[in-house]
Amino acid sequence: MQQLSGIQSVFFRQSRGLRGVLAACIAISTLFCVSLCVRLPAAFGAQVDGPVLTQWVNDPEQVLSAQDAAALTHKLYTLSQTLPGNPQIAIALPGHVDDIDSYANTAFHNTGLGRKGEDNGVLIVLDIPDRQSRIEAGYGLEGTLTDLQSSDILTAAQPDLRAGHYAQALNGIVDAIADLVQHAEPVDGAFHQAVKQVDPSTDAIEGIVGLVVAVGLFVVLPIILMRRAKKRTMRYPGGYMPPEARAPNPWWDILLNVGLNILSALAQGGGRRGGGGGRGPSDPFNSGGGDSGGGGARGSW
């Protein structure tokens, strides 16, 4: 009876301590979760202002015939696979826009044309109602496709545009850009002035992974450890524990290390999305996070 009350007393003392540990863990994880929850809606609810391109040829007004649009789509996809550096050239015919420069830059930025870090995208915009055109070059192609060259290309397309031969004009513009890229000197990626933007989707993914790992580390793991400790206390009353029972399980170390490493990586603002050109004709358009800073030229006809 005396032995039983001794066990109860040890267990009671230990469980009080463990309850304290659990309370502290829950408090920390709650604080962490609250801070993540504050950030998550902003990350998920972050609405993209302005246009986002979803195809190689974006023609909501259906200015181009289906055949012309398909042929241009195929050409742009093929160029993205065959040209040096695999640049991504896209076309937008949005109808009337208030400011074609702003539209082109916003659409480019929101879509993320070209590969992230290489910023090797080009956007061709035709505002047919206002007879305006623009070529927006990604940061990485500003040296290959200068403002002057863009301007010359648009000037060369003026006769076709004036005649209303939009497909022909676009083919000419695309061919001229492709020719410049084909014959360009290779550029060192380190010189690209990629402007890194905070990616809300990455933020959200980081948040979710962080939440799961934090709950695992600060709530689930302590509960498991407490249960194990409770079992040991019941199995070895009086505080003595044989060495083989005390030997640490290597899996716990591995688990703890993995968890802490993930948390550490998240705290440092880890991975960013990669990306590339199209994956294939069935899923031809897949932007890769490239950006532009207003390079290119505007024209009218």
Partner: protein, 197 residues
Amino acid sequence: MKKLLIPAIVIVGLIFIFGSSYNRFMTADQQVQEQMGQLQNEVQRQSDLIPNLVNTVKGYATHEHDTLTDYANARTGETALNKIDPRTVDDKTLQEKILEAQTRNAQEIKAINAVVEQSPQLQANQDFTRLMVQLEGSQNRITVARQRLQKAILAYNQTVAHFPGNLVAGILGYHTRVYYEASPAAQTPPVVDFSKH
């Protein structure tokens, strides 16, 4: 041992919150610095372009000839904007310098535009049209850089002012930044578009 466990966990938690917030402040701060640098570069690029334009249009200028010469002289010996390290000067001083450069560029472009309006024969000058294309590109880049700087400052201020960042921002030495506001005098006038003539 158990007595130390709870404070240890609390300390680890606090370190994590501090560390995580610090990293976010750093990232947001770097974005602002990067965008500020980009704006400096673009304004300087425009400043570098204008003397060439002035030289090209001088021959066509009648009334504005002296004004253009004065502007050109005023530029002599000035420090290039992109040589200023944003880390060595405070935001306000740097913004004032950028504004100063933008205001002067705007005044010069106005004077150039005045010459263009009076001299239609400039359209035939290949050098001039090519410089105007570059000037237009430069203006567009400045607009983009300014918008992105404002966004970067907004994101930074939100990181610093919102929970849980606001709990530790002051302790870590991060404070809200002032927005870059271009005065009406610094708003660059639109470049004359020859393709519409």
